[in-house]
Amino acid sequence: MNQETKKIINKVEQVTGYRVSVGSDTGFSGQALMITASPQQPVHSITVNQKYSNIGDYIVAMQCAMILVKWSDPENIPDFAVKDNKVSHQIDKYSKDRKLEKFPPDKTHQFVKSIVMGLMHQLISQPVEMIAMDICKEECPGLKDIMETSINNTILALHQNLDPKIRQITPTDLFEKNNAMNAALALNWVRMSENEHLLVPFKTVGILDKGKELLKIFDSVPVSDKQRYTKTVDGWADKLQLSSLYTWKYRNA
């Protein structure tokens, strides 16, 4: 394991008072699974997807940075809770979208559910990822190369979400919200790197300006604000009209 990754793991252990356990596995999507520690599960567990083992050190560092973001105020650790009844209502609403008329009703519901839940996951994960990117850049400069590999790979995968085949079967509103958040992530990376050309696909399909609006909200919360994460999520949710679908629950370390 890279020394800087070990260093950020130590930092998490010191700040939170819980050990970090790192392993790897397959059979799940995304780069990693993370369970933050609680009195009932007194270890932070990070499981790296073996598909991404070549950038594993960065993935672990990023997960640690995300823990640090969430533990900015150890007396008020935020847990995101989806309001099931409100989300169900949204799923029912979008299931009636004209683009989905040709789908069998049972499949439509399942499909829309996966998109809406994906959107909620994106809402809580992308702001924290963006803050964690800054932390990693600062705390782990030696991981610069694999950080670039990881984020470039992520953004190239996000370009695939703009594919017309996906657009044709996704309710317009959901398509735009999903890709606006993706564009915000890409914009944030482009100003950290010099990879401006990664924005071309977002610009081509007219989604870049929506990403810029979200980036503006991200930038409006001061870096020193202990609630930077929750305030950014709330700001994005307001903009994307998702505020009624979740609530925060706070716990003590």
Binding site: S21, S24, P201
Partner: protein, 357 residues
């Protein structure tokens, strides 16, 4: 800094309104010209393809006409783990230069890694037709056959490769892996040579360590398998090496007591049963979870000097003590769970004693 290539697809009707009524050829010209102008300042090559209403835009860091430079860039991306980016370049290069050996080799290997085995075998076979003495190509072809389950063809290709270059470490490694199940002794002879040539290659070290384990040379196998986690963290290989080390630890543990229960483990299991009974299910689960997580990095069960601490339970514990607690905790949650170590006799004996107390 070299920029990564990109590829994306969009529909013509996603263009701004003022394009909608323009004649199709004019729209295509305008779109192509837009992207060419856009990318001109950063160089490279733009490819814009139209199929019905779909537009595929690709940008490559070098002009593909400068074939060798583009191939080098693709290989460089693959080495950095940017497989998708490398694949974009190689796929386009292959369309234009379908008989270029380096393209066939690298693109064939990507297809093989992605599980597109028939296509991989086609490309790599074509490479061998062009250059029958390409032992690296034969090796890659053999790997594709192994992945497809055709061990005979794989062996035949590997033997050809071995005849061409008996010192190629990858051929030695792959031959070793191929015969390891049936004949660990024969495999060992290949691995012994391969580890000298590839001392830091995790697959070679793993194959070598596993052969030593199969041959009962546990003391030699364990440090080799331990090194895999350092050489290749976050991989399936590292997890398999951990499992192999756990097996070695279990075998070593049993060497002294044979089939008889280990008294220390019985006492630890009994202590765990008492402790969990006193603390209740939820606390027992918390302790079990913490030990299981700690155990992901490996607990030394054969060294009573090594001590561990937990957040959920005060005190210092040996590896065997923690494993016994974890075993009991998991069995109490679900008797069918596999805790990854065999303490069944010890657990049953402890349960009998606990019932009698």
């Amino acid at each position: 800094m070299t920029l990564d290539p990109i590829k994306f697809i969009f529909e013509l009707n996603e263009l701004p309104e003022n394009y909608k009524d323009a004649p199709q050829n004019k729209v295509r010209e305008a779109v192509t010209s837009f992207f060419k102008n856009y990318f001109r300042p950063i160089g490279g090559e733009v490819a814009v393809e139209f199929k019905d209403d779909l537009v595929t835009v690709q940008w490559f860091p070098s002009s593909l006409a400068e074939t060798e430079k583009a191939v080098d860039e693709a290989v460089n991306l693959l080495e950095k783990g940017k497989v998708y980016q490398g694949e974009i370049i190689l796929a386009e290069l292959y369309k234009r230069f379908p008989a270029h050996p380096v393209i066939l080799f690298n693109y064939g290997m990507i297809l093989s890694d992605k599980g597109k085995l028939n296509e991989a075998i086609d490309l790599l076979s074509k490479l061998i037709e062009i250059n029958p003495e390409d032992y690296r190509g034969l090796n890659a072809l053999a790997v594709a056959h192994i992945r497809k389950g055709d061990r005979e063809k794989a062996r035949s290709e590997l033997e050809k490769s071995y005849q061409l270059n008996p010192e190629d470490p990858y051929t030695l490694r792959n031959l070793g892996s191929l015969v390891a199940n049936e004949s660990p002794e024969e495999a060992l002879s290949y691995f012994e040579k391969a580890v000298e040539l590839l001392p830091d290659d995790p697959q070679t070290q793993y194959g070598y360590g596993l052969c030593l384990k199969e041959l009962g040379r546990y003391d030699e196998a364990d440090p080799i398998l331990k090194r895999i986690a350092e050489l290749s963290p976050y991989t399936d290989l590292a997890e398999r090496a951990k499992s192999a080390r756990n097996e070695i630890a279990s075998i070593t543990m049993r060497r002294e007591t044979g089939t008889e229960p280990r008294i220390d483990a019985v006492m630890y299991c009994l202590a765990a049963l008492k402790k969990f009974n006193e603390l209740g299910n939820q606390k027992a689960q918390t302790i079990t979870y913490e030990i299981a997580m700690l155990g992901r990095d490996g607990l030394n069960i054969n060294n009573p000097e090594k001590k561990y601490t937990l957040k959920s339970m005060p005190g210092e514990f040996t590896g065997m003590q923690l494993i016994s607690y974890m075993y009991v905790g998991l069995k109490q949650m679900d008797p069918n769970l596999d805790p990854g170590i065999d303490l069944e006799n010890e657990y049953k004996t402890a349960l009998d004693m606990f019932g009698k107390e």
